[in-house]
């Protein structure tokens, strides 16, 4: 493992993995509690539509993808206010992908598979990516630090929060948009699978063992770190793709925990 650290990509991957484990572990509680797992997948697929739009218009596909995904996130947010997020995300998943297909078909020239540009892997993290990540983490933590109690109130009891004058819709939309931004920026860095896994698995595990949201959030960050380091190490030892190994370790840990917790009760 030590020898690996002579390579910058490995150092960067470890630093990025640490930041992402913490940031995503933190957000994980809200994803699981608000049943937003589908958001991770929906937004990452919406990126396809955004890339295709960029190709069609001859703009930078990465930039168009970010805006396209933010717009999708915003639509999900304002529709989800009334109905359930689940079906709105599903519809936008299909719609954005369909738009992507249509945009590409309108571009008459040869179209490249730009997707690999848009979807990253943790081994491909660069220095400047690290700065982006750190900035993202600081931004998210500041917002959650400032509004933590309001966000908890809203997540717990939307109706009463609304009656006591909290701008419930504003906060809910803010959360979705922040999550969207985090997702779309990080698929470029670590890829779809790892994004979903890091955002869902930790809270899904900790919620089985702890019955207080503060503990759940704290241990989610911790467990993400454990999953990441052990997966990364294992992927190196077994020469397997890193992201996929990390995800597999996480998923296996979840199923083991669920079995264990199921037995206990």
């Amino acid at each position: 493992m030590i020898e690996l650290l002579q390579f910058e990509f490995a150092k960067n991957a470890l630093i990025a993995g640490t930041i992402i484990s913490i940031l995503f572990g933190f957000l994980s509680f809200f994803i699981v509690m608000k049943k937003l797992s589908f958001l991770t997948v929906g937004i990452s697929h919406a990126a396809f539509g955004g890339v295709a739009l960029g190709i069609l218009l001859g703009l930078n596909p990465y930039i168009t993808a970010i805006f396209f995904c933010l717009l999708t996130g915003y639509l999900i947010a304002i529709h989800g206010e009334k109905s359930e997020y689940d079906s709105v995300i599903g519809i936008l998943f299909a719609f954005t992908m369909a738009l992507g297909v249509i945009f590409l078909s309108l571009k008459k020239d040869y179209t490249f598979d730009i997707m690999s540009y848009l979807f990253g892997t943790i081994l491909g993290i660069t220095k400047s990516d690290l700065f982006l990540l750190i900035g993202l983490m600081i931004g998210v933590f500041i917002i959650f630090y400032l509004f933590f109690k309001e966000i908890i109130f809203i997540t717990f009891d939307k109706n009463v929060a609304m009656a006591s004058g909290l701008p419930v819709n504003l906060f809910e939309n803010l959360i979705i948009v922040i999550l969207t931004l985090v997702i779309v920026l990080s698929i470029k860095l670590i890829g779809i699978i790892l994004v979903s896994a890091f955002l869902i698995i930790p809270a899904a595990i900790t919620i089985l063992f702890f019955d207080n949201y503060k503990k759940i959030i704290f241990f989610s960050m911790l467990i993400n770190l454990v999953i990441f380091y052990s997966g990364f190490f294992l992927s190196y030892k077994l020469n397997l793709p890193s992201g996929a190994t990390v995800v597999s370790i996480g998923a296996l840990l979840y199923f083991a925990s669920a079995l264990f917790a199921g037995k206990k009760n």
């Binding site: 509690m33 109690k149 309001e150 006591s164 949201y213």
Partner: protein
């Protein structure tokens, strides 16, 4: 004299095309406890929701603390819904739930202080749930849960407390305690309380005013005097003869005497 805390004039409320409230006139003064009674589907919850600004009205005037319901400073309003709809299995302790009642008062960007924690604990003591303060709320019984939500509403220390069937699920001792607490709090904090209840008998012994609501308000009287029989008939329908009004045991007796 100051403005009434709640002032409603000629109010009409509809769901779609169906009128569920009409000709509503109601005034709640500072420091008053008003109870709304009436049959199921009479529009009690709807009226509260209009006061809270959660439901629009189609006609009339309504002023809460001198303002339109949507413009009121909401942190002065405490609310206990008829049917609590919190996120399923949200992992939170009893104490933290009650502390949440303080959040609107604390305001944005700030954390609950010692004072807020004291108030929350006090409210828990009032409903006799302080021994379970660290318990997860999903492990409570129905009545224990209701007490916690009452405590949260009390912890809000609002100017107006709006309670929709608060005694649901409380055991007899807790009910008794609860009504006492309400009177006590009103006296101490000068808040107005508007409360829906089916417990006509008990309620009428301690509230200041009773409003009988069935689409419109049929009687809006001072407590202590029995509700006229014809009003009860209008409000609850013809079955009302079963409600025996005995000056000694007011409104409590629901069965034929044995």
């Amino acid at each position: 004299m100051s403005l009434p805390y709640i002032f409603i004039e000629d109010l009409e409320v509809k769901y779609g095309n169906k009128v569920v409230l009409e000709d509503i006139f109601l005034k709640v003064e500072k420091g008053e406890i008003v109870s709304i009674v009436g049959p199921n589907g009479g529009g009690k919850t709807t009226l509260l929701k209009v006061i809270l600004g959660l439901k629009d009205y189609s006609k009339g005037t309504i002023k809460v603390l001198g303002k339109n319901p949507k413009e009121v400073d909401k942190k002065e309003i405490g609310y206990l819904p008829q049917r609590e709809e919190t996120a399923k299995n949200f992992p939170i302790s009893v104490f933290e739930t009650v502390l949440m009642g303080r959040y609107p008062k604390i305001g944005l960007f700030r954390k609950p202080g010692e004072k807020d924690k004291e108030i929350a604990l006090e409210s828990l003591k009032l409903v006799k749930m302080d021994h379970l303060k660290d318990e997860n709320i999903n492990k409570l019984s129905g009545g224990q849960r209701q007490r916690v939500f009452i405590a949260r509403a009390l912890a809000m220390e609002p100017k107006i407390l709006i309670l929709d069937e608060p005694s649901t699920g409380l055991d007899i001792v807790a009910q008794e305690d609860f009504y006492k607490i309400l009177v006590e709090i009103r006296n101490k904090k000068e808040m107005s309380i508007i409360m829906v209840s089916h417990d006509i008998g008990v309620v009428s012994t301690f509230v200041d005013k009773i409003a009988c609501l069935n689409k419109t308000i049929h009687y809006h009287g001072k407590s202590g005097t029995p509700i006229p029989k014809d009003v009860l008939e209008k409000v609850f329908g013809s079955n009302i003869q079963i409600l025996v009004h005995d000056p000694h045991c007011k409104g409590c007796h629901r069965g034929e005497h044995d």
